[in-house]
């Protein structure tokens, strides 16, 4: 059974119709499956909960609802499953494991059990790690370009890969600011503007256009 057949079967299971020519759109199956079963399609329940709390730490509830209210974990689950290559999926899952390891080491608890202030500390650490990884990769690229090799650097680190926190932040921002809550509450969404005005003075407290 190839991947498409598998997807068609999933689509059939949840009762969607699959019509030509947009066969690739059968991947809608993931969203439908998540919505109908209420369960993650790629993550375990624990991973899903970790993603939800990480997203909320990045985009918390303020005067507008945050990432959890916008169900950003659900869209991240679907995007990692359907849009990420296998190597990136692996990197992402390892990042979630690392998040819990950092939490255990610092507080003796899983990330989801931490209080908000502790979560911020862990995410600061993840952000610093991502920064370090990007610096290492840039250094490796520069050395490769100049023909030098840093024997101290493990091969693993020389590979160009997107650090976990970079992926997590990108997914969170995308998931949140394209959600209904993000578009219509955090930002200002106008489905049909009806006209274009090139120069409009900014009003006090004016929000950015959602799209």
């Amino acid at each position: 059974m190839n991947r498409r057949d598998a997807l068609m079967r999933v689509a059939a299971l949840v009762g969607t119709t699959v019509s030509l020519p947009a066969l690739a759109d059968t991947l809608e199956a993931s969203a439908i499956r998540r919505a109908t079963t209420g369960k993650p399609v790629f993550f375990t329940a624990d991973q899903d909960a970790t993603v939800a709390e990480l997203a909320e730490t990045i985009i918390p509830t303020t005067k507008t609802p945050g990432a959890k209210a916008a169900k950003v974990n659900e869209i991240i689950d679907i995007l990692v499953k359907d849009c990420y290559k296998e190597a990136d999926q692996k990197q992402f899952l390892e990042g979630l494991a690392q998040t819990n390891k950092l939490s255990q080491d610092a507080y003796g608890k899983a990330f989801v059990q931490l209080d908000p202030a502790q979560r911020i500390e862990i995410v600061k650490k993840l952000e610093a790690d991502a920064k370090q990884q990007r610096a290492d990769m840039a250094k490796a690229r520069a050395q490769n370009a100049s023909g030098q090799q840093d024997v101290q650097m493990p091969n693993e680190k020389r590979k160009s890969a997107t650090p976990f926190f970079t992926m997590m932040k990108d997914l969170t921002l995308t998931g949140y600011f394209t959600s209904e809550i993000g578009c219509t509450q955090a930002l200002e969404y106008v489905a049909v503007p009806g006209r274009y005005e090139g120069c409009v003075p900014l009003k006090p407290g004016q929000k950015a256009w959602a799209i």
Binding site: R4, L7, L20, P21, A22, L23, A24, D25, L27, E28, S30, A31, T57, I58, I59, P60, T62, G66, I75, I78, L79, D82, C83, K85, I120, V123, E127, K131, K169, D170, L173, T174, G175, F177, T178, S179, E180, G182, C183, A186, L187, Y189, V190, A191, V192, P193, G194, R195, Y196, E197, G198, C199, P201, L202, Q206, K207, A208, W209, A210, I211
Partner: protein
Amino acid sequence: MTYDAIVVGSGISGGWAAKELTQKGLKVLMLERGRDIKHIEGYETATKNPWDFPHRGRVTTLAAEEYWANMRTGYTANEEWRHHFENDKENPYLEKPGRQVDWIRGYHVGGRSLMWGRQSYRLNKEDFLANAKEGIGVDWPIRYEDLAPWYTYVEGFAGISGAKDGLDVLPDGNFLPPMQMNCVEKEVKKRVEKAFAGRHIIMGRTAHLTEPKQFHYELGRAACQFRNQCMRGCPYGAYFSTQAATLPAAMKTGKLTLRPDSIVSEILYDEQKGKATGVRVIDQNTKQVREYYARIIFLNASAFASTAILMNSKSKRFPNGMGNDSDQLGRNIMDHHLAVGASGTYEGLEDQYYYGRRANGIYIPRYRNWGNDKRDYVRGFGYQGGAGRAGWNRGNGVEGFGADFKESLTTPGQWTMSIGGFGEMIADPNNRMTLSPDQKDKWGLPLIVFDAAYGENEKKMRKDMMNDAAEMLEAAGCKNVTPYNDESKHPGIGIHEMGTARMGRDPKTSILNAHNQIHTVKNVFNTDGACMTSASCVNPSLTYMALTARAADFAVKEMKKGNL
């Protein structure tokens, strides 16, 4: 079945052929290889909100695999409009290693008129003279003056918004009111025009109804609503497309038959009469083969597809493809080379914003090798661009997370200004397509093999395209100016493929004559990108419209005279 005329293809030029020929009284069959997409009701994603898309617009790994050529553009495979582009795995083509072509297709009623960029410019007088002056390719068999009244005619019907800027390099037309520039664009215009004599920043001219006329309303079209979701299909019919404009006009005559799912495999040729008699069609679903007959045939399948049909139309008289005595069929692939320019940030005017989403930008007409300017390459380039305030996704480029970070992303970000070049590619007979001798698609038709690359002239031009862009943004006071020149792209990336059945004066060096007739098969016309003798640097669709209307007028006059 017999008709007066058969139109092969339903995109921009095919739609025009069907409209003109039916309005002149002909009974017309329009054949489209792909599925039908009905106006409005067929635009599946037109009114979706961002959160309605299961992947929020992103490309899935499965789609990336299937839409492998589309992945090269960076946008056509996106979830919002992927269903309007072609699945490359289902419709493969072949490329010579290192001599690739990015071929981006739309096989459905309306073709790429549903997804086109809508920028609409006239070629200028020099564009029609340059080949002869410089000894490149062949001379155009027509001049600007031959086409000017037809530009005026098609602009009126299509509805082109733009300003009369009074520039020889970019002739004015029959325009609807222009869209507005925003504050930063106005300021950049002022500063660039002051710093560089002969350079102009104008409002883009685009096929959107800014103020529809009565006849536009009567076709069911309405004014642009500034949603900027055009490639999904416009439920207001505000931009020019086959569905919104030419198809309803042709249908009103009661003389058009539209047949989707009909792949034309070849044009039938009568050796005795020395004429085409009709076309052979394969049903894309049932694979059933049928023939249709007509007195004239308009071939408007898009440049490469029309060329492939001619190549596949072999007879005793034309063993190398219909009309191909010159061996020029499939040669001289041209496009506009792009992915080169600059962007920068603009400080100031932080108290200004804009309302609405303008599906248009500014345009900088060609100024290189124009007037007294002389470069170490020939021809020139224009820029498309615009200014805007950064949105939430700027958050990915900076450190930070949490409450303050979130709040900062909900306000308008810094102004940025960017311009990207569109350069003329010159005709080179070595840039070509052929048909594979052994590999076939699922309908048994030979696959196209591409063998093309940018030449030295384009490479030299790109240096100016990058440096001039940076220089202008710096003169405009922009900061953090970042020039770019992405040389990983291939001809075709502009989705303006042209030249593979060019017009010319001599059957020994060209396929089509001054009226877009095949020199040696007078009842076959081609008016899509294949006919272009040179590429100019402006977006070509408006020229296809004008050439089609002109050729249709000629064809009907010739039929009445008994010459066809």
